[in-house]
Symmetry: C2
Subunit: 499 residues, 2 copies
């Protein structure tokens, strides 16, 4: 029998983690889509068992020794293997930095706060969440301190690193400030222009079965491989799986087919990224996606940049007419495009259009850091929230539910997560500029229903690179430039003021 | 911290095995019902990982030491715990008796033979299976020898023990011989009587959605707990899960709703057994079902004894009429009963009625033992098969596909499995006699759609007993008598000649 090197032994360990995680994906998908309601108890136990199993591989002292040993003979490895080893170490650091005491404290604090958050939303009373959220912030702070020590970065940067590896707060500060400045005059200009171009509302309800037919037809056109994927329904759209089996869901509204279709496009964007990850490295850390900002960029690229374009609507409108059996002014390509790109100042982030959406994230970004630093007390959050809403979007929530209670991220302990949504938009816009340079007729190809050149470019430049580079390097290699928010501002200006 | 006893440590180990197995159930269900076809590769790896994990707990030397230690202080345990410890030892014996070499040889031989069997069926050529099946029998023999040494029984009895713990071949010899003698005159008498009572065929196709509505309505009546179970479609009906989440499937034929309904009743019989297992022992070996013969008895009880009774048809016919929107001579309760109890000598076991079915198993029982002993060579199997078909059922297969190639059990290495089907019928008939004694108006309650007394009796006497007793003891405690095939003969005679 051939003796395995330390690196090869690590590959075997991480392949096992991959397999355990792939089972977890299926269990979570089933939990949202298929599971009978009273089976939730055993499902939680099953997921916790899988989590414990993969953590125990990651946290085993033998894994640490193998990493040390593999790193000393790093020069014998090729580029991909070296990147893989770096990612293994990164996962090991994240898993081993936090002592069990703190893992448990975090779990208790966030479980409690999430529960309280649900009640607070029901009763529309932010006060109920104050104490639990303060506790979460205290534990997140302690956790970030320990993680920052291990990763040799600031506590808050350590939180960012969990979702968007390598990203630093100073970079985001600059990017988000530019976006805020750029959007402030853009939003009223766009709304003004749109007010002189009225749209016709969709007045005919469409059966969910027909909407699914349309979505599947479009998914096939995009190249979604149904032989290893599915589309189903759930309360909120999501994507679960690994490249061997990816399942997306959407939510369908008979009165507005855009809800279902745009949900599908968003999730297909996520799924195509996962399908396109380097197959050779499927079971290894370097074969995974490069964090949430890049993942979100792929979803927003397909939903916002492509899905809400005239070219896509020209491709889509005849399918809509045929599959839904509809016609008339509301269903023309131009009117559908108008409906899909309507801009409106609103209170709820998840319903916001692509022009005002960034402001919702900028607001959270600023408040989150104030909360984390302690310069904003939890009890003062509603006031600060409403003040910023007035200043950035000129709308003010009349209650907590449509204000600072609308998201569960903070009660669940997700600090450092909101920025990935906006970085997704930024990166999507930058990649769009790059792909239009590389494939000048890209939009007329999409109008003709040909998505191959788009996904071939994304596959080469993003998907197939896995976690080989940092997110920043990946974007720079693909586009020729550092991440730059001006691409987003230009993209929005071109699309909403010039076309 | 309280120090755990050896027995308590074992309970923790077996609870972990239970959880791993519950995940495997879900993965198998998904594989048959939901999984995209090209995901079969990773699914196999996932299942194999779970299997390896539970086997490694079972085969750990520490598990053996804990068993030894717990057995020395057995007197400190209560009845259930002692039975649990016995079952733990039993599972340990089965897992540890077979050396890895033989586990692998069995896996290779059966994987190859099953593959060859598929091709042989397609090409309708038994010759292709000869060599692979000979190899399977040789490995099964070796495996049985080793297992028999460990369990201190004959090699063939060791195989029986895997599927129906504690059952011995000598007992089955007597039972099956009595059944063969009893049925030989009964079959022609029943067919003769039925020939003078013609039925009207169901000429109207019924949409699958309506058939499912009917089945769900009946499942609710029976008490199937949909809050922790599901009904779906698959190529062959099956039941997967543990009491916390059980999923059944059936196959629906628009031209014959009995296919779907009887499949559902069969699987609901299996599911109600699992749902009714002792909740307190859910994660432990003593909380499992008592083997395949008892499991099959519960499925056949509901499908054959109850589902194909006049009482059930009187309950069912109005629902059929309402949900399907049908009426006329074909859809009367009496005609439906006639159709559901039609007896016909036929070639294929899985399509056989309850009167001729036992002959199909008797034939396999006899041939299987001859093959195992070496008194029948594989190449002579088709001739021997056809000879027995002629003798027992007066029909002779014209090709291998409808003869000895019809089942995959032998190529898959399932020796000792066929008898559980017939023992299921035998036990179902015996339990029926017992429940009619205990609840004299049981059939009129069912006619009124009230299944509570039936499942309350089965729950107390069978389901809730888990694996506390052997199958034989369980039947004797429930019915007051040793397993006796005369109950089956009387049940068939009463139902088909006297009613």
């Amino acid at each position: 029998m051939v003796k395995l090197s330390a690196y090869q032994k690590l590959e075997k360990r991480f392949a096992r983690i991959h397999l355990l995680k792939s089972i977890g994906h299926l269990l979570r998908w089933d939990g949202e889509v298929m599971m009978p309601p009273a089976s939730i108890g055993i499902r939680a136990e099953q997921l916790s068992l899988l989590e414990t199993e993969s953590n125990s591989i990651l946290r085993a002292s033998q894994t640490g020794r193998l990493l040390d040993s593999a790193e000393t003979s790093r020069q014998s490895l090729d580029d991909w293997e070296q990147a893989n080893l770096r990612e293994m170490r990164r996962l090991w650091q994240h898993a081993n930095a936090i002592p069990n005491r703190l893992v448990n404290a975090f779990h208790r604090a966030t479980t409690n706060a999430e529960m309280q958050w649900r009640t607070a939303v029901e009763q529309n009373d932010f006060g109920m969440l104050e104490v639990p959220l303060e506790r979460v912030i205290a534990v997140v702070h302690e956790r970030a301190q320990v993680l920052g020590d291990a990763l040799r970065c600031s506590p808050y940067d350590a939180l960012l690193d969990e979702h968007d590896p390598g990203r630093r707060a100073t970079e985001l500060d600059g990017i988000f400030a530019r976006i805020r400045c750029g959007l402030t005059p853009l939003i009223p200009a766009i709304m003004d222009r749109q007010s002189s171009r009225p749209t016709v509302e969709l007045a005919v309800p469409v059966a969910v079965a027909r909407q699914k037919d349309l979505c599947k037809r479009i998914m096939k056109g995009i190249g979604f491989p149904f032989e290893k994927g599915r589309l189903d329904e759930s309360l909120h759209p999501f994507t679960e799986g690994t490249a061997e089996d990816i399942r997306i869901t959407s939510r369908f509204d008979p009165d507005n087919f855009f809800t279902g279709l745009m949900g599908v496009l968003h999730e297909v964007g996520h799924a195509m990224y996962d399908f396109g990850l380097p197959a050779k490295w499927a079971t290894q850390p370097v074969g995974r996606d490069r964090g949430m900002a890049i993942h979100e960029s792929q979803a927003l690229f397909l939903e916002m940049v492509i899905g809400r374009s005239r070219a896509f609507m020209n491709f889509c409108a005849p399918l809509v007419a045929r599959i839904f059996g509809v016609s008339g002014a509301a269903w023309t390509s131009e009117n559908l495009y108008g409906l899909a790109t309507r801009v409106k100042r609103s209170l709820i982030r998840i319903h916001a259009d692509e022009v005002t959406y960034p402001m919702h994230v900028v607001l959270r970004w600023e408040l989150e850091q104030d909360l984390f630093r302690g310069t904003l007390r939890v009890k003062d959050l509603p006031g600060a929230w409403n003040e910023k809403m007035r200043s950035y979007l000129q709308v003010v929530p009349q209650d907590a539910k449509s204000g600072c209670l609308q998201d569960s991220h903070w009660p669940m302990g997700y600090f450092g997560y909101f920025p990935t949504y906006l970085m997704g938009s930024v990166i999507a816009a930058q990649l769009f500029a790059a792909v239009r340079c590389a494939v000048p007729d890209i939009m007329s190809r999409i109008e003709a229903g040909d998505f191959e050149p788009l996904f071939s470019w994304l596959g080469r430049n993003i998907h197939g690179q896995g976690a080989r580079f940092t997110g920043g390097e990946l974007v720079e290699r693909a586009s020729g430039h550092e991440v730059n928010p001006d691409y987003l501002i230009s993209y929005l200006r071109d699309k909403y003021l010039l076309q």
